[in-house]
């Protein structure tokens, strides 16, 4: 017995050493370029709903590849609308022109943009020199509805800032400093036009950006507003506004709100330079727009050299991003198995089925957990109720299981459809629960409830959920998924730990509770 324990420990040590060696070699030789640098890939999702049947056309500004960001994949899906992709005549920005289709109550435009940021730079490349036509020049010096350049207050401020010896460049810097320092950042619903912002010295993001545009234009520096996004994980991305001013034959970017001048971080993704709205259309055409941004696993294929070496087989980060997502999900499963093993063999928790909690947790990883949990409980309660009723008919097992499975599938599909109808799902990636696993869980629940009583069944159900939640919380940590993908050799550590647990002959935590009585009332 001791030999087996020793053999297990020895094997575990060898595995750990091998895993550590592999990881070290890879960090040293192949992963240098990638390492743990912050993510360079993002997914921007547009979800725009038209809730009107009235005729009209809306225009949706779309992101475009730039010198520092590359859209390596984009998918569009739409219903009830005609979509035409075109470019803006003046700014050359990409746009989608959308017209409602006759006969549809609602229209929906859903788009994903997977954006790869160029590595090795913390901020944008210096802008390229451009020429600007006289026509455009006049256009970017004009007065607009909310960018007033005529007011007396405006001229006063400019007089304070400017003096005669100043170059345009210096003036631009002073204008930026004024907007960034002297105008207080106000709430969302405070002034958003240039005149009021400058007059009261307070404005929201848009107001401050417009104030700067107005000051620039008044001092004959062509300037324009940029609407775009800052790339960060968020379910509800807010449109951010910043300013581009034409100086020294270049369009230079300024963000008065965050204090970036002349250069912006590469996470600033411009969408449109022609308007403050990403979606534009007549007001009569009701529409809601929603944007979300999610970080993706880094597709190294953009980073590392494309040399095809045999060693690259173990470099999973070279796989295409869509494949990476799946692979990292699969690689998380052993981790869930490890957690299950610990909870069962060391803590002593009972669950329905060994890997049921892991698989349930896995199905929640890429879904919104709230809707997922809702659908999960709906499917489960319908299944359990149906199983109770079916019991009265006394059907053979396989037929009965199949009926429960069919009902569960129907129920889930219906739930997903209802969620979509109510616009509750943030994206099309709705919850897809493991149906067969759920069916078996329903069956086990009913059998245990019938044979060992409902309290027992509920207890095991609760512990199953508990184990699922534990698995989910660990697997949800983004770093864990990335580590699993970058270092597949981590699985060797996993096996090593499992080997040790497999030879663990100590008490389970639950047994300390279970056997309490013996020690207190000893053998007579």
């Amino acid at each position: 017995m001791i030999n087996r324990n020793r053999a297990a420990i020895l094997t575990a040590l060898i595995l750990i050493a091998a895993g550590a060696l592999c990881a070290w070699l890879r960090i040293k030789y192949t992963l240098k370029a990638v390492g743990f640098q912050d993510s360079r890939a993002w997914r921007l999702t547009y979800d725009i709903n038209l809730s009107s049947t009235r005729e009209g056309k809306i225009r949706i500004a779309l992101p475009d590849s730039t010198p520092y960001s590359h859209i390596y994949r984009e998918t569009f899906s739409h219903q009830g609308i005609w979509v035409d992709l075109l470019r803006n005549k003046r700014t050359k920005g990409r746009e989608a022109s959308v017209v409602s289709m006759a006969g549809y109550q609602r229209g929906r435009f859903l788009a994903h943009f997977d954006i790869q940021l160029k590595p090795d730079q913390k901020s944008k490349l210096p802008p390229v020199e451009e020429k600007i036509s006289a026509n455009d020049r006049a256009y970017y010096l004009r007065a607009e509805k909310d960018v007033q350049i005529t007011g007396p207050g405006l001229a006063n401020i400019l007089n304070q800032l400017a003096n005669e010896q100043m170059t345009k460049t210096e003036l631009l810097t002073r204008i930026f400093d004024y907007c960034a320092e002297n105008i207080i950042k106000g709430e969302k619903d405070i002034f958003s036009d240039a005149e009021n912002t400058l007059e009261h010295g307070i404005g929201n993001t848009l107001g401050r950006a417009r104030a700067m545009v107005a000051l620039c234009r008044l001092s004959k520096i062509p300037a324009r507003l940029v609407a775009g996004f800052i790339l960060e994980n968020t379910q509800e991305a807010q449109v951010h506004y910043w300013v581009e001013a034409f100086s020294q034959k270049k369009w230079l970017s300024y963000d008065p709100e965050n204090g970036y001048s002349a250069q912006l971080p590469i996470t600033f993704l411009p969408i449109t330079r022609d308007s403050i709205d990403i979606v534009r259309g007549p007001d009569t055409l009701g529409y809601q727009s929603r944007y979300s941004i999610r970080r993706l696993l880094t597709p190294t294929s953009f980073i590392s050299s494309q040399k095809s070496r045999l060693l690259n087989i173990v470099d999973l980060t070279r796989l295409p991003p869509s494949m990476q997502e799946i692979v990292s999900l699969i690689l998380l499963l052993p981790l869930a198995a490890l957690i299950t093993t610990i909870l069962r063999n060391i803590i002593g928790i009972q669950t329905f089925g060994t890997f049921t909690p892991s698989l349930i947790a896995l199905s929640f990883i890429h879904a919104d957990w709230r809707t997922g949990a809702l659908v999960f409980f709906i499917v489960l309660s319908v299944g359990i109720l149906a199983r109770l009723l079916l019991n009265k008919l006394q059907l053979l097992m396989v037929a009965r299981l199949s009926i429960v499975l069919t009902l569960a599938v129907l129920c889930m599909v219906l739930a997903v459809s209802v969620l979509d109808y109510l616009n509750l799902t943030p994206s099309a990636s709705a919850v897809l629960l493991p149906m067969v696993i759920l069916t078996m869980m329903i069956e086990r629940f009913n059998i245990i409830a019938e044979e060992d009583g409902l309290p027992n069944a509920l207890k095991i159900f609760a512990t199953t959920i508990l184990v699922s939640v534990c698995c989910f919380l660990v697997m949800k940590v983004e770093l864990v998924g990335r580590l699993a993908l970058i270092f597949p050799e981590v699985q060797l550590f996993n096996i090593a730990i499992l080997l040790l647990i497999g030879r663990y002959s100590g008490y389970r935590l639950s047994e300390i509770w279970r056997f309490r009585d013996i020690t207190q009332i000893p053998f007579k």
Binding site: E451, Y507, I518, Q520, P522
Partner: protein, 305 residues
């Protein structure tokens, strides 16, 4: 309910170790893997095979009326039931007393089980078919159903018997009985004699066959949870025979660490119910004693290290 002693909330594992208590992990790693070869599991996991073995070795076991192996056999077996007033239907590969239906007597066109619930012939047919389709079998594999004689519990268990048949679990290590307990079905266990399902266990002194205090739901109990009858002081009749047949079976099945369940019939005396390759650990609470101590003693007596 009388509960002896006041319990602390937490105990250190060292205290358990000192008392020689075996946990599940230890049971699996130190007893079942080395002493119970997997190839011999088939004999104990399938009650029909265990029974065949008993018959060939002349070890007493309840009489078998029929073994139903295919769905086609159900009709013929149902005809057989008309001639019987009491019988037990059980899956051959069931676990934890699941799927066992004990019919005590006829009632008009139908049958009544030991708990007094009415069963129609149709329900019994359905029950057999669910057994055959594998609902109660250990791994969900298709199973066989066995129809046996219903045991009349020995009168000594009167007052301790609620809606089921008590049996005696004997844990045998290397052909030596090391611990035993009387397993009493309760209302909570729905007539089944498995401790984890709510049956009560009562430790039995191996030398004398006299019971002392018991266990219920993993806690020390001195009276039957339903009837309130005292659990200690019951002398098991024909105790030496009970031990004898248990030892005979343990030799026959080739498991060095086994739990043998013995029934005590009013007429036929001790009968083998089944053997178990993974006997439960609550027997330690019933006997107020850890299994390691007994194992150590056995090893010393038999000259093992």
């Amino acid at each position: 309910m009388v509960r002896a002693g006041k319990l602390p909330f937490w105990l250190w594992p060292s205290e358990f170790r000192r008392n020689g208590i075996i946990g599940i992990n230890s049971r699996n790693i130190n007893l079942i893997f080395p002493f119970n070869p997997r190839s011999n599991y088939a004999l104990v996991d399938n009650k029909a095979l265990t029974k065949k073995l008993c018959e060939s070795r002349h070890i007493p076991a309840p009489q078998t009326y029929a073994l139903i192996q295919r769905f086609g056999d159900i009709r013929r077996s149902i005809d057989l039931l008309f001639g019987l007033s009491s019988f037990v239907i059980k899956p051959t590969r069931g676990a934890g007393g699941r799927g066992v239906l004990a019919i005590a007597h006829r009632s008009g066109k139908g049958f009544k089980n030991t708990k007094g619930e009415l069963f129609s012939l149709e329900q019994i047919r359905y029950h057999i078919s669910t057994i055959l389709s594998g609902l109660y079998s250990l791994s969900g594999q298709p199973d066989q159903a066995m129809i046996e004689k219903l045991i009349e519990p020995h009168p000594v268990f009167k007052g301790l018997t609620v809606a089921g048949t008590p049996d005696i679990r004997i844990v045998i290590y290397k052909t030596t009985p090391i611990m035993s307990m009387l397993r009493l079905p309760t209302e909570a266990s729905k007539g089944r004699a498995n401790l984890h399902q709510g049956a009560a266990g009562v430790g039995i002194d191996l030398e004398t066959g006299i019971t002392y205090g018991g266990v219920w739901r993993d806690r020390v109990f001195d009276v039957h949870p339903d009837t309130g009858a005292s659990l200690g002081g019951v002398t098991i009749p024909m105790w030496k025979d009970v031990l004898k047949i248990a030892m005979q079976l343990s030799c026959a099945i080739g498991l060095q660490y086994a739990g043998v369940d013995v029934l005590l019939d009013a007429e036929d005396g001790p009968l083998i119910l089944e053997a178990n390759a993974r006997p439960g650990l609550s027997i330690q609470i019933a006997n107020r004693c850890g299994l390691w101590q007994k194992l150590r003693n056995t090893n010393l007596k038999q000259g093992f290290a």
